[in-house]
Symmetry: C2
Subunit: 414 residues, 2 copies
C-alpha cells in the first residue's frame, strides 16, 4: 500500500479491535442458508464513544437504516454497539422489518447492560427476506460472550455475504507521543447470490474528538473513499458506514494527521470493495487533474470509472481511449477538449485534444498484466486524464466488467 509509505501511519494487525477499548465478535447463528458460515457480528465501543454514520441515499431502504439514523439522533452519536446480520437484508419486509430490528437490538442491549437506544443494527443479504429471528436471538448469548479485543477477524468474516476476500485493516501512529490506532472492516458487493449488494463498513478509532469535528471529518473521509468507488452503479437498500471515535480527547493540532489516517483506512477498505466487485479481474483507478473544482474532478473520474464501455475495454485490454474521452465528455462538466491529455498506465495516448502515436503492444501488455496476471493487492489499472490547468484533482476506483458479472447476475437461475 504505497500511500502508507509517505504517511506517518503504519499497518498493524487487529482490525477494528486494534484501537484501545473496542471489542468485537462474530459467530454462526444459522442465518445463512449454508448454515455453518459466520453470519452474526457484534462491535462494542468503550463508554463515551462517539459514532458518526453515513447511509444509503436510496429512498427504498431497510428499516434498520431508519433505526440507526433515529438512534444516532436520539443519543447525539453516543451509541455503544452495532449488531450486524448477514444473509437477509430485511428490506421491503414492511412493519415486520422494523419490529424485528427493535426486538434484536433490545435483546442485545439487555445482555450488554446498556440502553436499547445505544444499539445500532445493520443487515445485509437478500431483499425482501426477513431475518430468522429465533436463530438470531438464540445466538446472542454466544455472540456477547465471545466479545474480545481479538474479535475483529471473526466479525470481519461474519459480515461477508459472497465477497471473495475478507476486508480488514488497522493502522497506528504516534501523535504527540501517544499511540493512536484506527481499524476498519467492510463487506462489498460480491453478489454470487443476487441482491447481496450491500456495502457495509465499520471503523474504530481510539482518539476522542468533539462530535462536530468527528461528524465533519467522517463526511469528508467518506466522500473521498467510499463515495469514490463504483462496481455497477447500483446502490443497495442497506448501505451503511459507521465510524466510532472513543478514548481520551486528541489535541486539536493532531486533527489533520488523524484525518489522513482515517482516509488511509477508508480508502483501503473502499478499494478492496471495488477490487472484489462481481466478476472483477482488476482494480481500476482513474485520476482526473487540472480541474476547476474538486467536484468537477470527482464527477469526471466517477463517470469514467462507471462507464460500461470503458470497463469492458479495460477487461479486453483494449487501449480504446475514445471511450474514456467520450465518458469524460458526457459527465456534465465543462472543459475544453483541446486541453485534454490522457494516459493509460504511464503511456500517454492523447495530448491537447489530439491522439498521439503510442506503442500499442506495450500498452496492451501493461493492461494485460494488470487484468490477467496481477494477483497483488496493490497494483491496479491506471487511467489518467488532464483536462486543463486547474489546480484540483480527484481519484475514483472501480473494476473491469467481465462476462463473469453477467453470469453471476443473470445465469444463476439456469
Amino acid at each position: 500500500m504505497s500511500n502508507f509509505e509517505s504517511s506517518k501511519w503504519s499497518l498493524v494487525s487487529g482490525g477494528i479491535t486494534a484501537p484501545y477499548g473496542f471489542l468485537a465478535s462474530g459467530i454462526s447463528a444459522g442465518l445463512k442458508p449454508s448454515g455453518n458460515k459466520r453470519d452474526l457480528a457484534l462491535i462494542l465501543a468503550p463508554k463515551n464513544a462517539l459514532c458518526a454514520g453515513t447511509f444509503t441515499q436510496s429512498i427504498v431502504r431497510a428499516k434498520c437504516i431508519d433505526l440507526c439514523i433515529e438512534r444516532l439522533l436520539e443519543t447525539v452519536g453516543r451509541v455503544r454497539a452495532i449488531l450486524v446480520n448477514s444473509g437477509q437484508a430485511n428490506a421491503c419486509t414492511g412493519l415486520r422489518g422494523l419490529e424485528d430490528s427493535v426486538i434484536a437490538s433490545k435483546a442485545v442491549a439487555e445482555k450488554l447492560g446498556i440502553l436499547e437506544s445505544e444499539v445500532l443494527i445493520c443487515s445485509t443479504g437478500v431483499i425482501g427476506q426477513p431475518i430468522p429471528m429465533q436463530n438470531l436471538l438464540k445466538g446472542l448469548d454466544l455472540l456477547v460472550n465471545s466479545l474480545s479485543d481479538q474479535g475483529s477477524n471473526d466479525a470481519a468474516n461474519a459480515i461477508l455475504t459472497t465477497d471473495l476476500i475478507k476486508k480488514e485493516i488497522a493502522i497506528e501512529s504516534y501523535l504527540g507521543g501517544r499511540r493512536i490506532r484506527i481499524g476498519g472492516i467492510a463487506k462489498g458487493s460480491g453478489m454470487i447470490h443476487p441482491d447481496m449488494a450491500t456495502m457495509l463498513a465499520f471503523l474504530t478509532c481510539d482518539a476522542g474528538l468533539p462530535k462536530k469535528v468527528w461528524d465533519e471529518m467522517i463526511k469528508r473521509v467518506v466522500h473521498s473513499s467510499f463515495n469514490a468507488i463504483t462496481v455497477d452503479g447500483d446502490t443497495s437498500t442497506n448501505d451503511a458506514f459507521l465510524a466510532f471515535s472513543g478514548g481520551d480527547p486528541l489535541e486539536e493540532k493532531y486533527f489533520n494527521e488523524l484525518e489522513i489516517g482515517l482516509k488511509l483506512v477508508s480508502t483501503a477498505l473502499a478499494k478492496s470493495i471495488a477490487r472484489d466487485g462481481e466478476g472483477a479481474n482488476c482494480l481500476l483507478e482513474v485520476k482526473v487533474e487540472g480541474a476547476q473544482s474538486l467536484r468537477d474532478a470527482q464527477i469526471i473520474a466517477r463517470t469514467i470509472c462507471s462507464s460500461s464501455l470503458v470497463k469492458t475495454a479495460m477487461h479486453g485490454c483494449d487501449p480504446n481511449w475514445g471511450r474514456i474521452i467520450a465518458a469524460a465528455g458526457r459527465a456534465g462538466v465543462l472543459f475544453s477538449q483541446e486541453e485534454v491529455s490522457l494516459w493509460i498506465g504511464s503511456f500517454q495516448v492523447m495530448s491537447k485534444g489530439l491522439p498521439i502515436e503510442f506503442n500499442k503492444n506495450l500498452v496492451v501488455s501493461y493492461m494485460n498484466e494488470m487484468v490477467r496476471v496481477n494477483d497483488s493487492k496493490t497494483d491496479k489499472l491506471f487511467i489518467g486524464l488532464r483536462i486543463g490547468d486547474g489546480k484540483y484533482e480527484a481519484l475514483a476506483w472501480g473494476c473491469d466488467l467481465s462476462s463473469e458479472y453477467i453470469h453471476i447476475n443473470a445465469d444463476y437461475t439456469t
Copy 2:
C-alpha cells in the same frame, strides 16, 4: 405496433422519402474498411423546408456537430441537405475534423446548386479516425445523381455501422382532407466494432410549420422518445437527430395530431435502437405511473432501465423484483416505499411496499418467452411500477445485458 391502432396514423412504405418533396440516396464510397457496404447518404429537403436539430450533450463532440449547430443558427433552420458518412466518427481529429466537414459540405452544395450553409454533415464510426476524403469526394457525383423519392432504403442502409437491422419507418394521416406523411430513419449502437456508438436519426414531414412551433414540438418529441432509451448509459461524441418540416403550411388546429404522428415515428425508431442494442435479446419497457410530476416518472423509469442489475436479471429471466425497487429507490426522486406496487409483465409481484405471493414459474416463463423465444418486433419485456397516486406517468426503453455485450466490447482484441 399497437400504438398505431389507437391513432389516426397508419404505416406506409417509403421511409424518409415517403413525405412529398423529399429525396434521398445512399451509396458505397469506400469509406468503411469492408469497402463495399453503403457508407455515404444524402437527404435533400424541398425549398423552404425547416430543420430542427438535437445533438449530443457531451462536451467532447465531433466538429461536424459544431458545424450543424452553427449552420442551423445561421440559416434560422432553413437548411436543405444532410450528408451522412459512416465508418469514421471524425471526432477528436482536431482542426482537420472541421476542415474536412467544411470541404465535404461545400462540395455537396456546389453539386446541388445550393448554399454551403444549407448543408449539414453527420458522421458515425470510430472516434479519432478522420474521413478518407478522397473517397468521399469521389463518391459525391454518384450520390447526388442517385437522389430519388425512392431513396430512403439506400440512405437507411448507408448510415448503419454495425446495427443488425435497418431502422426505417413512415406513416400517413389525413388532416383536414390533406394527406400528411412523416418518415424517419435511424442508426443505433450495434457496436460489434467498438466506438461505433453514435445514435443518428433523421425525420422528414411534408407539413409546413412555423419555426418556433416546430422547434418546440421536436423538443417535446425527442424528450419522450430518443431521450427515453438507454443501451449502456454511454453517450457518443456524434449523436444527432435532425427533423425536417417541409411543404404547405398546416392549419393550427392539426398541430396536436401532427405531434402525435411525430411521436409515433420517433418512438418507433427509438425503440428499434434499444432493441438492437449490443448483445440485446429483448426490448425492455419500463412504465412508471402515479408520480407527482412527469420528470419524476421519467427519471425513475430511466434509472430502472439503465440498471445493470435489472438488465442482467431480465437477461437471466429472473423475476428479481428487489433489484427493480432498489433501482427506483436510488433514482433521486422522493416517494413512499409503502405506496409502491410492481408488475413484471401482467404479473403483480409487490403491493403497497410488500412482496406478494406470485407464481414464479409463470413469471419466468413469460420472461423466457420475451427474452429467448421472441422474434417479433412488437413484443417486449414489460416492467410496471406504481409509486403513488400522482397523475403523471412515463415510459423508458432499454434492453437486457448479456455476455454478448461483454464479448462485443471487450473480447474482440483476443
